[in-house]
């Protein structure tokens, strides 16, 4: 169980990355969604004990990550994939994983080798394990990052933008892998790609400008947008500024827009069932309107 209470993080005096965040995260797979710069990475890094919060309380698996002892306790059961992953170009994938395994405190040689081989197999890098990582593509490097996060059978797995740089097939494979992992440990998936969350999380939070805008299930977020998503066909003119265009398709009679908001009565509109992405966009739209007002 992870409990975050009144958490703030300020960089310098002007940049407020987190503003009084309250959050409870249980077991299973939790999605943290928000636009770039929302504060997701800052929150992830605080949970992982990499950053000190400015104020507030953070308890991860019963440990207070703001003190040294708690931080080390969390790190000893943590698997973490940072947003900006770096690897040693002069090492092979196998050497790197052996290194991380030792740093994670895996001292049993046979167990270490077994886990390394298993994770390499899971991320599909067995055949490339002895190649230097300088020769790896972006996707392969990402997979090495995922493999190192899985080492040591973590109780908490934090993955920050894990699908960036992966091709569609790899993304699906990773989502399935994370879903499988969530049966054994708490997985926190931070992303700005709503599809990643919709396919794998049963619990999520939406964060923007350092504040939690929504906390609940994907179904709850979808419900918020129900009755507000429309298909609108025009002869070419774009919908009014009050509507957010989600998609644009050229059809025989003109242009079909999928929009979120309240369309005018004169428009040729059809109400449609919202998706999780629609719910997210509706929420963001409301957030912007509140800021303006």
């Amino acid at each position: 169980m992870i409990t975050v209470s009144q958490l703030t993080k300020t960089y310098g005096r002007k940049v407020h990355a987190l503003r009084g965040v309250d959050l409870e995260i249980g077991t299973g797979m939790f999605g943290l969604v928000g636009p770039n710069g929302a504060g997701k990475t800052t929150l992830m890094r605080i949970l992982a004990g990499l950053l000190r919060p400015t104020s507030g309380k953070v308890s991860v698996l019963g440990n207070d990550v703001t003190n040294r002892r708690g931080k080390l306790a969390v790190k000893s059961v943590l698997g973490y994939l940072p947003q900006e992953l770096g690897l040693y170009p002069d090492l092979t994938a196998l050497e790197f994983l052996e290194y991380v395994a030792l740093l994670k405190g895996m001292t049993d040689k046979a167990e270490k080798e077994k886990q390394i081989n298993e994770t390499l197999e899971l991320v599909g890098l067995t055949g490339d394990a002895r190649r230097k990582m300088r020769t790896f593509s972006g996707g392969m490097k990402r997979r090495v990052g995922i493999a190192q996060a899985l080492l040591g059978k973590p109780q908490l797995l934090i993955v920050d933008e894990p699908t960036s740089g992966l091709d569609p097939e790899e993304r699906v494979r990773l989502r399935n892998l994370l879903a499988e992992m969530s049966a054994r440990c708490t997985v926190i998936l931070s992303t700005h790609i709503v599809e990643d969350v919709s396919q794998s999380c049963n619990d999520l939070a939406v964060i923007n400008l350092g504040q939690v805008l929504f906390r609940g299930s994907p179904g709850d977020l979808i419900a918020q947008a129900r009755g507000r998503v429309w298909n609108l066909v025009t002869t070419g003119e774009r919908p009014g500024a009050a509507l957010t265009v989600v998609s644009t398709v050229q059809i025989q009679d003109g242009v079909q827009y999928r929009v979120i908001g309240t369309p005018g009565e004169a428009s040729k509109v059809v109400s449609v069932e919202p998706s999780l992405e629609d719910g997210y966009i509706w929420l963001m739209q409301q957030s912007r309107l509140e800021q303006v007002s």
């Binding site: 992982a48 940072p82 040693y88 991380v100």
Partner: protein, 314 residues
């Protein structure tokens, strides 16, 4: 136990990098080559003279016995005299090892910034390693690289010297000369390498890129060199007095059969290394020198640890 294993894991990886990236290897090898060349110049230049002197002619036997020496004393005399020359050359060349204080920090200052530049630093911090473990691993790994290269260079040099002496004079270095060389390597060379390597790694803690760390590494090298020569200055003011207490202590306590004979021939004390009249240095002063080094490194390590805690929440 886990702490030790983690330190060793970081050290092993750093050791691997030392050879794959090469900077500490190249710097240490260059310094080793300079020292070796410096030591060999003297004895090799005079080898033909020693070869001529070692051959006994009736005239030389007559002269030798006129001083009251027996013929049996001649062979050890020649061996020790060549050894003395080797020691003299070693002393001059050993001044070059102080260059390690200047250049090693430049080569080793890139170690920690490299982790940041490659973006691995954040990943390492998600494991349960403390700042001390990280620093200890980095220093140990870098030092292992430097030590191995230095040992290979000095070992090679020693072997070459022995082979040359055997092939021309049919004997190797005297025991006293060999012992002097080994003691000098351990009592003076080792602390210099430890300091140069450690200071470089610790300076790197404060910089984000390898390029940014190079100039501060150079400044740390200059400060180390000046500080070392000043803090551990010897009582003698002559040329050899430019080095340090360990070096002086060994010179002061160096004895050979040839030196004794020459002293007796000269009818008094022989100031072979130019330290006559200067006050002596005891083992206590030597111990103080090492204590001061350990204390200074402990302070620098603590500062680096505090910086890591403050800036990177280690």
């Amino acid at each position: 136990m886990k702490v030790v294993r983690r330190i060793l894991a970081i050290a092993c990886t750093e050791f691997r990098f030392g050879f794959r990236r090469g900077a500490p290897v190249v710097v240490t090898a260059l310094i080793g080559l300079l020292i070796s060349a410096g030591i060999l110049v003297g004895p090799l230049a005079n080898l033909s003279m020693w070869e001529a002197v070692s051959v006994m002619t009736p005239e030389r036997i007559q002269r030798w016995t006129s001083f009251g020496f027996t013929i049996e004393q001649h062979a050890p005399f020649i061996r020790d005299a060549v050894g003395d020359m080797f020691v003299g050359s070693t002393l001059l060349a050993w001044l070059l090892i102080l260059l390690a204080l200047l250049f090693l920090p430049i080569a080793t200052a890139v170690s920690i910034p490299a982790d940041r530049q490659f973006g691995v630093s954040e990943l390492l911090r998600t494991t349960a390693i403390s700042g001390f473990v990280y620093l200890a691993g980095k220093v140990l790994g870098m030092f292992a690289t430097v030590l191995l290269v230095a040992a290979i260079m000095l070992g090679l040099f020693f072997a070459v010297t022995e082979i040359i002496l055997f092939s021309i004079l049919h004997h190797g270095l005297s025991a006293s000369a060999s012992l002097f060389f080994i003691k000098l390597s351990l009592l003076d060379g080792l602390p210099i390498l430890i300091w140069g390597t450690t200071v470089g790694v610790l300076v790197g803690v404060f910089f984000r890129t390898r390029r940014a760390a190079i100039f501060p590494g150079f400044l740390a090298g200059v400060a180390s060199l000046v500080g070392w020569v000043y803090a551990f200055r010897t009582p003698s003011q002559d040329f050899f007095g430019m080095t340090d207490l360990a070096y002086y202590y060994l010179v002061q306590n160096y004895h050979s059969f040839a030196m004794d004979l020459e002293a007796r021939l000269g009818g008094g004390g022989l100031d072979y290394f130019g330290i006559a009249g200067a006050p002596g240095v005891g083992i206590g002063q030597l111990a103080l020198m090492y204590l001061a080094l350990v204390a200074a490194l402990a302070v620098l390590t603590s500062l680096a640890r505090l910086w890591l805690q403050w800036k990177e929440n280690y």
